[in-house]
């Protein structure tokens, strides 16, 4: 599925992430996945939440910069070899991605992977055709 991901640019200084997360916690927004790409000067925060539009609205009102990116989020079986199968499918279709991250699904035995690819539909089709998804 196409998933709305929230991303934010965090300068490397103490308390930055806390400021963002506080807004979500105070407003009862459920954080499902979070990852940070770190560089020398800044971090890039990426989050999947249950209500991204509301979250962005609240964050902006609180004076934080953030943006929504549409990424591809797929469900695969939570077992050895499943990730390999998904990556092989993308490789076969010659699709490169900028980044990816994975997290447990709330459903038993399943896992989520988020891919940032140039064309979500094309990547989804490649994964489906290869039978890589749950």
């Amino acid at each position: 599925m196409i998933q709305k991901q929230i991303s934010a640019y965090l300068e490397n200084k103490p308390g930055q992430l806390l400021d963002y997360i506080q807004v979500l916690g105070e407003n009862n927004i459920d954080l499902q996945a979070l990852c940070i790409a770190d560089t020398e000067d800044y971090g890039l925060l990426r989050m999947i939440v249950d209500d991204p539009d509301k979250a962005v609205d609240l964050l902006k009102k609180a004076g934080h910069s953030c943006a929504i990116t549409e990424v591809l989020s797929v469900v695969i079986p939570d077992r050895p070899g499943a990730m390999r199968k998904a990556l092989a499918a993308l490789n076969e279709a010659q699709i490169s991605f900028d980044y990816c991250y994975a997290f447990f699904s709330k459903e038993e035995g399943k896992a989520n992977i988020v891919f940032r690819v140039p064309d979500n539909d094309e990547a989804l089709k490649a994964l489906e055709d290869a039978g890589a998804l749950e």
Partner: protein, 441 residues
């Protein structure tokens, strides 16, 4: 071929001029000025219009005392008259141009006739001789060659003197040190920050004891007495200051003698005034004020009452070196917002222009510092939300693009740091755009 002028181990390059009694200097200035004003008024329509607009009757300008009636010229005039509105000779008589850094807006192009170049090289030759220089010297010039006046100015002065000139231009430190050692260079000409860097490098590579440097002529950026001692210690030479600006000719407008106590202004070519930068009022000699130069005998680009924005004090006291020309202090600051970073003139407005062209907000901050002997130059830019990608690669591309646009505007590399939107402090009234942590003045 011209015969080489032999001036071996002289104390002055042009003794009769450099030690001329002050009354005589004033007479020369008076004669040159009256002629120069007439000529420029009649041959430069831009200047005529400026004088007319100021309500000055040109017939009233009978002596140098009348100079205070004339309007000032500023960088704005140079921009308005760009590219050749202030040229005072037919173009066929011009043999060269030089230009200041900056590709738009604040660029200055100065023109030179052969005679202008000859007089200019006299000035730089005087500066070299004032350090104890002679035709026996090997002068390594590591100022940039090309449009910048630094390389050409010292190069031609060394030629004039008959010294062996090593025309290195800037950069490539290993090669600089190699030539310095192999050619047994005795005089080094470059910016003080590069001199300091060369000194550090010479020590690191263990070549310092093999160098034969005797004197250094360093200019084009602000430096302190502490830095002088540091360079003298590192390079085992005596460090001399030199002053100049492209608008007036280039390095050599004023230079330090062995006393290292102020720079003698070449008053036979340049008339100097100090003014109150706010009111334009001429101040008595010895007061701190903005330097205003008049070119007395330049032909192609003779500026009259050009405001330098440099704040200095003039010292008319006799100098124990025997030179009678007045001395200026090191510039103690600027009366405008220009910064000199790594020897290059930078106006905050140029940075603003680049950011706006790049689709960014004009909310930025410039942080200049000096680490060791080199300037650091950071530009903090607020990241606009709509431009920010969610990949590190996209942000790096953006940063690189801004760095490259700044470099083509300014000629030097800035470290660009994208910061969060609205994170640069907005102050009431004037924004704090520049934080200069260097202690230069």
């Amino acid at each position: 071929m011209k015969e080489k002028v032999v001036r071996k181990m002289k104390k002055y390059f042009q003794p009769e001029i450099e030690t001329m009694p002050r009354e005589q200097i004033k007479e020369i200035q008076n004669d040159l000025f009256v002629k120069q004003f007439r000529r420029v008024y009649e041959s430069v329509p831009y200047y005529k219009a400026k004088v007319d607009a100021a309500g000055v009757n040109p017939d009233e300008i009978q002596s140098i005392a009348d100079i205070s009636k004339l309007p000032f010229l500023t960088k704005d005039d140079l921009r308005e008259a760009y590219p050749d509105g202030l040229l005072a000779v037919p173009k066929k008589d011009v043999v060269r141009i030089h230009s200041t850094s900056g590709t738009t807006g604040k660029r200055v192009v100065a023109y030179y006739t052969q005679n202008d170049l000859d007089l200019w090289s006299d000035c730089t030759a005087r500066a070299i001789v004032a350090t104890g220089g002679s035709e026996d010297d090997v002068v390594q010039v590591c100022y940039g060659y090309g449009l910048f006046t630094g390389g050409a100015g010292l190069n031609d002065g060394a030629h004039k003197l008959g010294a062996l000139t090593v025309p290195m231009s800037s950069g490539n430190t290993d090669r600089q040190l190699q030539f310095m050692e192999d050619m047994q260079a005795t005089v080094l000409c470059c910016t003080p920050s590069y001199a300091s860097f060369l000194g550090e490098s010479a020590i690191e590579r263990g070549v310092r004891d093999r160098l034969k440097l005797r004197a250094g002529i360093f200019g084009a950026e602000a430096w302190t007495e502490e830095m002088r001692r540091d360079i003298e210690d590192k390079l085992q030479l005596k460090a001399y200051d030199i002053y100049g600006l492209t608008e007036i000719s280039g390095p050599g407008v004023a230079f330090e003698c062995e006393e290292q106590a102020g720079m003698h202004i070449n008053e036979d070519h340049f008339y100097i005034e100090t003014i109150d930068p706010d009111t334009g009022e001429v101040l008595p000699e010895g007061s701190k004020g903005e330097l205003v130069f008049t070119c007395l005998d330049k032909e192609a680009f003779p500026l009259i009452r050009y405001r330098t924005k440099d704040i200095c004090v003039l010292n008319p006291e006799e100098c124990s070196c025997g030179r009678t020309h007045i001395r200026m202090s090191k510039p103690m600051g600027r009366s405008d917002d220009m910064l000199i970073i790594k020897g290059v003139n930078v106006f905050p407005s140029q940075i603003e222009t680049v950011l706006l062209n790049e689709g960014l907000t004009p909310n930025y901050q410039i942080i200049v510092d000096r680490v060791g002997s080199s300037d650091t130059f950071d530009v903090l830019v607020e990241m606009p939300e709509d431009l920010f990608g969610d990949t590190v690669a996209a942000i790096s591309r953006r940063e690189k693009q801004i760095v490259s646009s700044l470099k083509s505007m300014l000629g030097i590399v800035a470290k660009v740091r994208l910061v969060e939107p609205k994170s640069i402090e907005r102050s009431e009234g004037k924004a704090v755009r520049v934080i200069d942590k260097r202690k230069l003045y």
